[in-house]
Amino acid sequence: MNSNAIKARKKVLVILTQSPYGNALSREAIDYCLAAAAFEQDLTLLFTGDAVLQLINDQNPSTINQKDLTKTLSALPIYGINQFYVDSNALEQYGIDNDFCVPTIKVDVKEISELLVNADTILNF
């Protein structure tokens, strides 16, 4: 519980690839981010593939007996996580844009490679 127990110093890139409700990994990834934020870990999030679908506003998963992932995602900025990179190719593939639950930074393939290069550790969810 003591947030000073770990002196965070590594740059961790969390790569999200899963859709919001078909796979629990999407929520479990956010749970990791909340924990990492509590320890003030230097965290960057990259949404690619189906994970861009997590960001769509107006989700109402009560119809499938699940909690709304966007509500929890939108708590991340309060926890100090502000770097939400989104794969512009994936957005294009699904024809979605803007109107997301968190402020995002769109990145192309080259910029994403840079994110990987600059990370100390990569966690894939």
């Binding site: 790569i15 690839t17 690619t48 593939g49 190719n89 393939v109 994403i112 490679s113 990987l116 290069v117 600059n118 990370a119 100390d120 550790t121 990569i122 894939n124």
Partner: protein, 101 residues
Amino acid sequence: MKTLHIVNKSPEKPSIMERCLNFSSKGDSLLLIEDAAYFALPSTISKITSRLDALQIKIYALEEDLVARGINKKIHGSIQIVNYEGFVELTTTHNKSSSWY
């Protein structure tokens, strides 16, 4: 800062390999494990060899997974076979790894 990309899904899910290659940098390596071992077959790997070459990405496949699937003698010549110790070695010679699934 080189990355070892680890792929474990079969070529039937092409978007996974696509993503892995898109985000790779020059000099990274690719390790095929589990069902991704089937990428080592000549007909599947030939679809991506030009991109691998352009990025100078070395490609490895895990011996145990190849043998298990009966394809260790059928694989493309450009692929280097490593056992688990070779897998460990690859993680030491790269700064980090990214697992695509």
